[in-house]
Structure formats: C-alpha cells, structure tokens
Amino acid sequence: MLELSRRRFLIGVGLSGLAVASPRLIAAGSPTGEQSFHSRPIPSTGESVPAIGMGTWITFNVGGDQYLIDERTRVLETFLAQNGTVIDCSPMYGSAADVIGTGLDKLGAHDRIFAATKIWTSDGSETREQAATSERRWGIDRFDLLQVHNLLAWQEHLATLKEMKAEGRVRYIGITTSHGRRHRELARVMETEPLDFVQLTYNVLDREAEERLLPLARERDIAVIVNRPFQGGSLFRRFQSEPLPSWAAEAGVGSWAEFFLKFIISHPAVTCAIPATTSVEHMQENMGAMYGQLPDASQRRMMAEYVRQL
C-alpha cells in the first residue's frame, strides 16, 4: 500500500491547488501540456474532431464488475482530460455501452464527447429502436454519429438513418467495416450514398485501404474513422521489443504507440483513429500521438518500409 509521507502530502496539496486553479493543467497530465493538438475537419460540415478517439471493442465489455467499471472510468477520464472526444461503440460490444454510460455519469461528461455508435441488427426495421436503446444506455439524448455496423442490412438501415438525420435525430451517418473485409462493397456504397463517415481498418501493415477507399473518401468528402490501428494489439506484440528507427524523433515519434498512430493520422484522408485500451498509461501514450509533429509523406514511406523489414 502507498505510504503517505509528509513530502507526498505537500506535493499532493500543491497539485490539488493547481488543479483547481487551472483545469487545463490537469489535461496537462498529458505529455504535452498546453500544446495544441491535431484535429481534423469532418468534410461534410467542416466541424473539427480530435484526430485520436477511443474504441471500446473488448476493452469496455466488463459486465457488472464494479472494480473494472471504475478502472475503465479512469481510462475514460484520462481520454477526456487529454482532449479526446470521439468515443465509438456498438450494440455488438456486450456491456460496453453501459460501462461508457456509467463512466460519463460519474464524470458528468455527456456534453463533452462526440458520441458514435453503430446499428447492428439483421432486422432492417429495428434501426430507430436500436438507436434509442443505445441512447438510453449511454445516457444521451442523441448520437453525433450512427453507423451501419459491418454493412449488416445496410440498405434498410441507411435509408432510416437518412430520415433520422433529416429529422435532426442524429447529426452524422456512416457505415463500417473492419479487418479489411468487404472493401469492394464498401466502395460501392461510398460511391452512391450520401455518407458523412466511413469506418475501416487501416494500419502500418494493413494498407489495402490506401488503394481505393481512402482516395475515394477524399473525392467524396467522407470522413474516415480508422479502427484496429494496432491490429488488435498484435503490432505491439510483434514490434515492441524492436528499437524505434534512428530517425523516429525527426518524424515526431517517441514511442511505438505514436509510431503506429501517427502513421495513420498523417494520411490526408484520415479523420480520426480509435485505439482501444484498458490502461490509463496506454491511453496517455495513445493520446500523445495527437500532439507534436506528424510524419510527412516520405517519412510515412520510411515507416512502412521499416516495419516491413522488421
């Protein structure tokens, strides 16, 4: 157990005073203090969102475990303190939506987020019902973004989502895929439907999206959310024991998390990457990618080549 020495106590009191005086400095629990962070405009409106968001697949599905709910609330708190806003979920993620809702309640943060979830049901008539259920679980009045999950019954859901957007029941609509699946079908939807967002898998190893989907998103003014930026954690397992390249600092990269994330958000078509984590420390590392220099086109090529050689 932590022993509270006089010195620690005084430091704690001092920091508490600072925190009251300047909430922004708490956010400066971030590695970057008052630096500006990278944000990206949503092409359909010009509204900006931070370039790093938060995914919740697996990580926030903790059921009724109060200890883990509190832990995830700390992760959420860290995310918000470091200027994160975009939180992505799905009804498919078990109890994740309830855990987000509990965390937002505890932090009083419902109005500080860009709330994104998905419609995940093969019944094309359940779009509104499922959106309402998700709103209740998150404790919000409406979502900023509703996406058709993995193109499931997308024709029916998208038709309803367009109606909901026209009614003001949702601000943005989109469609998702993951693991590099069904890119051709996604491209056809992007070519023909008025989407605000697409969500797809893109990372330093899975780069198929560069060929067609990312250029198409730019051409059609569609915002891009990138899932699986760490390939479900396997990028760390494969590369973390390796040294960063000698030129990493020149590319604004100080850790492998920054390496992987900055590679993604420096692509001109990408709006936001949504890494998921269960750890406050990892969240701090992830959010660090939102600050400082980003690699340019030639450095991005060097990054891809470096991991390929490893």
């Binding site: 903790v62 883990l68 069904r182 269960t278």
Partner: protein, 235 residues
C-alpha cells in the same frame, strides 16, 4: 457475406471480452456468495457417498444434487455473471438450467446402478483438483472454480454420471456437456488462458474413463451385474 469473408475470421474475432474480465468472474461470484457457496462443493463431496448406496433413495438424492449443481452453475455463473459479457453464455446458462431440471425430474432412474469405486474416485479428484486451474491463471484463492458454480468443474464431474446411463438417455444427457466442452475450449484458446483448457480436457478424459467403466447396457448386457445369470453359465 460470402464464404471467403467467413473464412477470413479467426477464433479471436469472436471473443468480445478480455481474459481479466473472464477470470474475475470466478472471484466475483465466490465473493458475492460467500459463505453460502461452500454448500455446492460440500454437496459435491458427499454425492458419491449417496451414489454408491444400494438403496434407491440415496441414489435419487445423488442425481438431485447433480441437478441442483447444473441449475446453480447455469443460472448464477452463466446467466447472471458471464452472460453480460458474452451473449452465447446466456443461452448456455438457460440450457444448463433445463438440464438440471431434467435431472431432478428423472429421480431414481438417473442412477441405474450404484457408482463404482473408479467413478467415485474420479469424481472426487475432479471436484478437488480442477478448481485450482483457475487459480493457476489468476493467483487468488477467491478465483477457485467451485463445483456447482463453475461450469468447467461441474460439467467434468457430472459426465461421470451421465456416461453411466443406458443409451439413448446417455447421449441425450451428454449432448450439452459436449457442446459446452467445445465452446469453452475455443473460448479459452482464443483468450490465451491455457490452464483453463484443463477443464475441457478433463471432461473428455473423465468421459472416456466413465464409458470404459460403465459400458452401455446395450453394448454389454452383462455390465448391469457382475455375476452372469444362471441361463448364461458355461457348461
């Protein structure tokens, strides 16, 4: 989705929670039910004693205890604790409850003959040793996987009873344990909780042991009695 898309999925893609969440289920249910949870393993310890009796009533009681274990494990562990993080667990949980009710309704028919010593010893070994597998994954005594609450131990032990039934009842009772064995093995593999693979492995080993000790009456008419009938004696 076409076939190629389906084939692109790995086992890990279907697991929607992390190992910590799963392992903490054992500790959470034990802490929440303390000290009443001790009733289940105690029932498990005395069950073979009832099962070995020649009289029908204790053998009925043995099967009733097994039924209660399935109901407790199905409703408490699977439906209440595991279901919120893994929706197939809820379906399994209710199926466990139905199987438990079936065992209660079957009364004395369920144990057609007294348990043999090898089966009784296997039973005790299962409920005394297997609970430690979850502690090997999560070093905390609260994480013991107890008979009557944890599905792995409950299924592994009770297949010893089911294998002693005549066909086709035997296979009716074994269908759900085998389905759970497959499902849980895939889950533990995907989670990387390799010690827990001991549950499905033990289930299969105990099933083989029980089938060898208790061949079906249909396969071996002499197994009901150690002594051959008078009409079958050799000249």
């Amino acid at each position: 989705m076409n076939r190629a898309t389906w084939l692109s999925y790995s086992l890990q893609d279907f697991v929607m929670f992390g190992p910590e969440v799963f392992l903490r289920l054992f500790a959470r249910i034990n802490q929440d039910l303390w000290p009443w949870l001790l009733l289940w393993p105690l029932a498990g310890l005395v069950l073979p004693w009832f099962g070995r009796q020649a009289a029908e009533l204790p053998r009925r009681l043995a099967m009733a205890l097994a039924g209660l274990a399935w109901i407790g494990c199905g409703y408490l562990f699977l439906v209440r604790y595991y279901g919120p993080v893994n929706w197939p667990a809820t379906g399994f949980g209710w199926a466990f409850v139905v199987q438990g009710l079936l065992l209660l309704l079957m009364k004395g028919r369920a144990l057609p003959a007294p348990m043999t010593w090898p089966v009784a010893v296997s039973w005790w070994l299962a409920i005394l040793l297997l609970p430690w597998l979850s502690v090997l994954e999560m070093p905390d005594l609260w994480a013991l996987a107890l008979f009557g609450l944890a599905p792995g131990v409950t299924v592994a032990a009770t297949v010893l009873l089911f294998a002693g039934q005549p066909s086709p009842l035997r296979w009716l009772l074994l269908a759900l344990p085998l389905a759970w064995t497959l499902f849980s093995a895939a889950t533990y593999w995907a989670l990387g909780t390799f010690w827990l693979l001991g549950f499905p492995v033990a289930t299969l080993v105990l099933l083989i042991v029980a089938l060898r000790v208790n061949p079906s009456p249909a396969q071996n008419p002499g197994s009901q009695s150690a002594r051959p009938g008078p009409g079958r004696q050799s000249p």
